[in-house]
Amino acid sequence: MSQRSMFVHISKDSPLNLLHPLPKLASILMINTVALIIEAPIPFLILIILVMFAFRIAKVPLMRIWRLIVALVIVSQAVIISYVFTSRIPGKIIYEFPWGTYVSDMTLLFSLSMIMRYSTMLLGSTLILCTTSDRDITYGISSLKLPYSLAFIFTLAFRSTSIFIDDFAKVRDAMILRGTNFYKGSIVSRARSYAKLLIPLIFIALRRVVEYTYAVEAKGFTVTGKRTYLHRYDVKPRDIAISILLASAALFTFILKYWFGILSFPGWPLNMFFGR
């Protein structure tokens, strides 16, 4: 049996499915915070391997990772170009540019670290969201004692996206049938043609806003009042323990970097070789 998450169908017996939305949101926060704190390439490598291993344990299809390769390639080339041409990272200088920046032996290593930082955040967030449904997000936001309205807006926006894409195709086809050419003229005139397409879409959306508002008000929805929930997500001691463990992991990473310097660039174990 499989179940639909935000992106993919995953096995119903995935361990991450058993968790309350709260530790799932805590995981996203933790993986992003930890990645932001670390600067050292080897600890990043270890973290990425652990996240990949977590993909296997969570039974998330690895096909999801391959789709992210394009994003990683785009970001990687930008980071490398940015650091090679415009950075001054101290080290043994290999090449100095006329505009004052230089490439040192540390430049590529540091840019590699930054690529791994992005990769860690990307993989970690994807892993969690692959095992999270939009309902989990709604309940997760409520668990964090954030206003339910926020969860409502977020869920509605998610569902409206596909409706908008359908409307967009219909309006564009109607305009093409009436003689609009979206592929002719300068970039500005083409942009203006697309902008004109947004006007009917906005009026369609306004009509939807009125219809949806009547629907939610008819169901007793209020902005601030108390509400009941169809599904019950009880926070178990296991969920609290995992959330505390994740928060401790972020704190531990912070201490390792700022107290012991292990996670500062170039970090453990490279600092032994580079004498920093």
Partner: protein, 194 residues
């Protein structure tokens, strides 16, 4: 229609949700049509910018929130639902229209853009707010190590030009053609929230 504290109605939330979906769709479209290599979820012609600047002048905070959520949902499938994508693009796209709205409210300009004064305020406020958002966005990219400080100023200039053009082309058209009708809409916002 039910009215609650502060005059915020369920309709205002629905405005954010529905238009958030539209901004997300427009963001997806922009990234596919005019991508910028290297900027996570970036596009050379950010269609949602024109949309959420106009939405914020019509629906205040709720329009900006639609831009914020829409941008995050739109950029996420390409570059991950990470802190970086949230903090740079999504938060920047939340701040920019709010700054523009603050300038409009302070100068008592009319979003219908009928007079030369209103038009002048619109054109200048878009540059100011886009430039401030660009500074924030590239500061976030610098903090996350994606760009260097030397590249920051070039990023700010490029982003300001690209986004300003998108807002001028799309936003102006939307404001001039639809504001008159949207002012009659029950969820038109005169202040910040209601």
């Amino acid at each position: 229609m039910e009215t609650v504290r502060g005059g915020i109605k369920p309709g205002h939330l629905v405005v954010s949700g529905v238009f958030g979906g539209i901004c997300a769709g427009a963001a997806l479209f922009s990234i596919i049509m005019v991508p910028i290599p290297g900027i996570p979820g970036g596009s050379g012609f950010w269609i949602p910018a024109g949309l959420y600047f106009a939405l914020t002048l019509w629906f205040g905070f709720w329009g900006a929130l639609a831009g914020h959520i829409g941008t995050f949902i739109g950029m996420g499938p390409f570059f991950g639902f990470t802190f970086q994508v949230w903090a740079d693009g999504a938060l920047g796209d939340f701040l920019a229209p709010l700054i523009n709205l603050a300038i409009f409210r302070a100068t008592r300009a009319d979003p219908e853009l009928k007079t030369g004064r209103d038009m002048g305020i619109w054109l200048i406020s878009v540059i100011i707010s886009t430039c401030l958002a660009a500074m924030w966005i590239h500061f976030v990219n610098y903090s996350f190590g994606t760009i260097t400080f030397d590249l920051w100023k070039w990023g700010v200039i490029a982003y300001t030009i690209g986004d300003t053009l998108a807002v001028w082309i799309i936003g102006t058209l939307l404001l001039r053609s639809a504001t008159k009708y949207i002012k009659t809409f029950p969820y038109y916002v005169k202040g910040l929230f209601s």
